[in-house]
Symmetry: C2
Subunit: 112 residues, 2 copies
């Protein structure tokens, strides 16, 4: 069954779920932050550096949301001063993997 055929058969409920997921990752900055974490950034400054135009405030807001949604981990390290590392949960990695075809798609149509 081709992808188009598989989508042809999805029902209202699956469509509603998928739309909610698309609108969730489509929120301003969320996709960029997930990609930055996927690229190996773990520190706040590292993530900030990888996402053009992202402010400290919005990164804090989005990281809290992503942690609340079970997509990102936040580990406090007992260094002096204290330091924090962020990472993707299994679910976060699953989302990133599901986003990968969109990364390829965006590249393919970049010059159009």
């Amino acid at each position: 069954m081709t992808i188009a055929q598989s989508l042809h058969t999805i029902d209202d409920e699956r469509c509603r779920l998928a739309t909610a997921t698309l609108e969730h990752i489509g929120k301003r900055w969320t996709g960029g932050i997930l990609l930055a974490l996927g690229r190996g950034a773990t520190r706040f400054r590292e993530i900030l550096h990888l996402v053009d135009g992202l402010s400290d405030r919005m990164l804090s807001v989005r990281l809290r949301e992503l942690e609340r949604d079970g997509l990102v981990t936040r580990a406090v390290e007992p260094t002096i001063p204290v330091s924090v590392r962020y990472g993707l949960t299994t679910r976060g990695k699953g989302l990133l993997a599901a986003m990968a075809p969109l990364v390829a798609y965006s590249e393919r149509y970049a010059t159009d």
Copy 2:
């Protein structure tokens, strides 16, 4: 190379493109409309029916955007009264196919 590894190597430009695509399809209603077209809806009313809460006005706005972006076709049929059919372009079908893993992801984590 696993998907995570492939994302590990993407550069800033590809990341910027991917983020723009995610934020584009993540706009309120856009994903739902693309999925409705993917499910075979071609009439304005059919699309409206498949996307919970979508208004006539917002469907018109989003269809114009999707047409402008080369994702949706709009064909006027010489019936009396005139009738209009919408469909996905090749690029639109490509985007839908790239979204399919996210549909599967959203279903997998639906109950969490």
